[in-house]
Symmetry: C2
Subunit: 413 residues, 2 copies
C-alpha cells in the first residue's frame, strides 16, 4: 500500500498493513503512518454528521469494506448551569449515544473494517467492559465471531449482558486479567484467523481521533478538552485528531488536553508529578472502565499532556459520584462514572488555577450511564409514601411540591 | 395563540394552549391543532440532523424556551443479512441512541418545553419505565423537579436506576398502577404547579412524529413502517408525521403502518380481528415497555392501521427473544425486547403475505438493549474454560475458532 504502513513507536520498524499484526516484534506499540489527505470543511460538512463524514482523514487500504453501525455524530451539549457555577464555558460530548453505548465504537468501526480487509474470521479481545461489548457488536455486523478472553471466575455477572446478547464466545483463561491479556498479545504477535482489537490495536486510534474532528466541526477548537484516562488510548487519539486538523489548516489553535484518572488507578497522573512511572498492582475505583493499573499507552499520554501544554490529575471516588450526580441533576445528562471524572477533574483544574475564567472546555463523556445499573442505584433520592390520591387529595401533591425542595441537592458546589 | 389550540378527540371542545391541561373535561384525549407551516427539504436539510431540524413542523406557542438534550437524528441502519433472508429491504431506526436510551425523548423535549412555557415547577408521570427516565432527565434539564408516581411496593429495584441518578422524587401510591395513573389524571384535570407528561400529553405526540420526518428525510417514504404498540402513542404519532409530510408535498406516497403487540398484552391486535375492544386485566410479556393492558390510544391506533391500509399483529415472548437475538447476532444491533417485536411482527406479516417481496420496511427500534440488563442475560452464548495460554498454546485458539461454529445459531430462520 503506497503511503500507508504500520510503524513501531519504539524501534521504528515498518510493517506492511496487509499483515495481521498489532504489535511490533520488539513488543513496541505500532502506529499508522499515512500520506496526509487534503480536504475542506465544506466537503466534510456536505455529508451526514457521523464518523464516516471524515473518511479522507481515516486511513485504510483502498477498497477496504467499511463495517459500520452508523457510529459517531454524538451530541455536544451546552452545560449552561454548570458553566454559570464554574465561571467557564462547559460543553459535554455524549459518546454514550454511540451504538453500543460508548466511544469504543469509533475505534471499532475502523478496526473491524481492517479485520475484514485482512480476511479475519473472528475479532478477539481480553476485556469484559465497553471494548468487549463494542467488539462483539462490530464482529456480528461484519459476519465475524466475537471472542472474549477473560480471567476465569473473576467477572461480575452484570458485565456479561451485552456479550451474551451478541453471542460472544467467552474463553475463560486461568489466572488474572494479565494472563488473559498476555494470551491475546501472544496470539496477536503470531497472527491467525482472529484479529486483535484490544487497546493496542493501531487502527482504533484512527477511529477514536474523530471525536476531535466532531468537536472542531461543531464548536471550533476549545481551550481545553478533558478526557478520562484508563489505558490512555482515547486522550492520545483525540490529541492526534486535533493535531491533524491543525496541519490541514482546518483549525487555527490547538486545545490543551486535561487527562483525568481515578485516584486508585492513577499511575500516569502520579508519574506526571513524580517523573517516575510505576504500575499499580491492584487498581481500585468505582469507575470500572478506567480501573487499569498498567496503562498500555502511558508514554503516549505523558507526551500528549506535555505537547499540548495540558495536565493530568486524579480524582477520588467521592468526587466522581458527586460529578455524576451533578451532571444528571444540574444538566439532565446521564453518563457513566468513568465519564464523570472529567467534571471532577475540571473542578480540580479550576481550583488549581490551570483553567482561566470564561475558557471554553469540552468534557468527553465516554460512556452511557445505562452501562452501570449498580452505580446509578447508588444515588439517593426522595421517596414518599402516600395513600391513594383521590380528587380531593390533589392538595397533597401541591404540598409535596412545596416540601420537596428539601430533597434537592443544594450542595452541588 | 392564533392558529394553535388543544381540541378534544371525543367532544370537539377547544382549549387555549396557555392552560395547564392534558385531558378534556369530558375525559377525552386532546390533540394539538395548529396552522400548517410550509417548509422545504432544502431548508430543513441545511440544519443539523437532529429533532429540532424540523422546528417549523413542531407547533409551540411563540417564544417557548426549548428544553433539549440534542435528541433525535437517530441512526437508520440497513439490515443487509436480514433483508437477504426475508427477501425484503429492511432498515432499522435505532431510537435507543437518544439521550436517555429511548424514543420517549422525542416527545419529552416538546412536552418539557411546553411545561417551561406554562411556568410549571415540576414534571409528573405515573411510570417506572422509559417515560419516567426521559421525564426525569428533561425535568432536570429544564431546572424543574421530576415527580414519579408508582404503585407502592410493586416496582422492581432494577427499574429505578435512572430515576435515582436524576433524583426523581418517587411518590408511592397505595394500590396498583391504575391508582397511580388515576392520581396523575385527577391532578392533570385540576392543573397546578406540576405538568403531566404521561402518554395522554398531547405535545409529546408532536415530538414523536419527528421519527417519520427523519425516515422520510433519509430514505423517502418506505412501503411499511413497523412500530411496537404499548399505549399506542408512537404509531399514531409516526403516522401523523407521514401524513403531514404528504400534505406539505414533501413525500409522494404514504407508508402502511404495522403495529406489533406482545401476545399477552394485545388488546388492540385482538380488537382489530374481533371488532370488540376489551382491556386485559393482567397483561403478561417479557417486553415490559409495551406491557399495557388498557392502552390510552387504542382508538387512535385502530384508526392509524385502517387509514394507512396497514395491520396490527401480536407475537409471543419466544418470537420476541428470537427477534432480539437475530438483530444482535445477524446485524450487530442491540435493541430492547419491546423493540424486537417489530422484527417478529414483520416475519409474521411476511408469512401472512401482507408484505410484498422487495418492499422497503423500516423497523422502529424504540429502545436500547442496555435498558434491560436481565433480558440481555437470557441469551445463551458459548463459554469455554482453558488453561493459561502461553506462546505454544496459541494453536488452542485456532482450534477454538474452528470449533465454535457449533455455537452459532443457524436456526435464525
Amino acid at each position: 500500500m503506497p503511503g500507508l504502513s504500520l510503524v513501531c513507536d519504539f524501534c521504528g520498524r515498518v510493517f506492511p498493513v496487509s499483515e495481521n499484526r498489532v504489535l511490533c516484534e520488539c513488543g513496541g506499540l505500532l502506529h499508522v503512518e499515512a500520506a496526509r489527505a487534503s480536504v475542506s470543511w465544506e466537503t466534510l460538512r456536505s455529508r451526514r454528521f457521523r464518523l464516516w463524514r471524515y473518511r479522507e482523514l481515516i486511513p485504510l487500504p483502498p477498497g477496504t469494506p467499511i463495517v459500520s453501525l452508523d457510529e459517531g455524530g454524538s451530541p455536544l451539549v451546552q452545560a449552561t448551569r454548570l458553566s454559570e457555577e464554574l465561571k467557564v464555558n462547559v460543553m459535554v460530548k455524549l459518546e454514550g449515544s454511540n451504538p453500543t453505548g460508548s466511544f469504543k465504537d469509533r475505534g471499532m468501526t475502523v478496526a473491524a473494517s481492517m479485520a475484514k480487509f485482512l480476511g479475519a474470521k473472528a475479532l478477539i479481545a481480553a476485556s469484559t467492559g465497553n471494548t468487549a461489548a463494542s467488539m462483539s457488536a462490530y464482529a456480528r455486523r461484519a459476519g465475524m465471531i466475537p471472542v472474549v478472553l477473560i480471567p476465569s471466575g473473576k467477572i461480575a455477572e452484570g458485565k456479561l449482558g451485552q456479550l451474551r446478547l451478541y453471542g460472544a464466545v467467552i474463553v475463560e483463561v486461568e489466572g488474572g486479567f494479565d494472563e488473559a491479556m498476555g494470551a491475546v498479545l501472544e496470539y496477536s504477535v503470531r497472527g491467525g484467523d482472529a484479529y486483535t482489537v484490544n487497546s493496542i490495536n493501531p487502527w482504533r486510534i484512527e477511529g477514536q481521533k474523530t471525536a476531535a474532528f466532531e468537536v472542531a466541526d461543531e464548536a471550533g477548537a476549545p481551550g481545553w478538552v478533558a478526557v478520562p484516562v484508563g489505558n490512555g488510548g482515547n486522550i492520545y487519539s483525540i490529541w492526534k485528531g486535533f493535531k491533524e486538523l491543525k496541519e490541514l489548516d482546518l483549525i487555527d489553535e490547538l486545545p490543551r488536553m486535561l487527562g483525568v484518572q481515578a485516584e486508585g488507578a492513577a499511575p500516569i497522573a502520579k508519574a506526571y508529578t513524580t517523573k517516575v512511572y510505576e504500575p499499580i498492582k491492584e487498581p481500585k475505583t468505582i469507575a470500572s472502565a478506567i480501573r487499569i493499573g498498567n496503562p498500555v499507552h502511558w508514554k503516549r499520554v505523558l507526551n500528549t499532556v506535555r505537547e499540548s501544554g495540558g495536565s493530568i490529575v486524579s480524582v477520588s471516588d467521592e468526587e466522581i459520584i458527586w460529578a455524576q450526580r451533578t451532571l444528571a441533576r444540574l444538566e439532565g445528562l446521564g453518563v457513566e462514572s468513568s465519564s464523570a471524572v472529567t467534571l471532577a477533574g475540571l473542578k480540580k483544574a479550576i481550583n488549581g488555577k490551570l483553567v482561566d475564567k470564561n475558557e471554553k472546555i469540552v468534557l468527553i463523556a465516554t460512556g452511557n450511564a445505562l452501562k452501570e445499573p449498580q452505580t446509578m442505584n447508588l444515588h439517593e433520592t426522595a421517596t414518599l409514601k402516600i395513600p391513594t390520591l383521590k380528587i380531593a387529595d390533589t392538595t397533597i401533591l401541591s404540598e409535596i411540591l412545596k416540601s420537596i425542595t428539601k430533597f434537592e441537592s443544594p450542595e452541588h458546589f
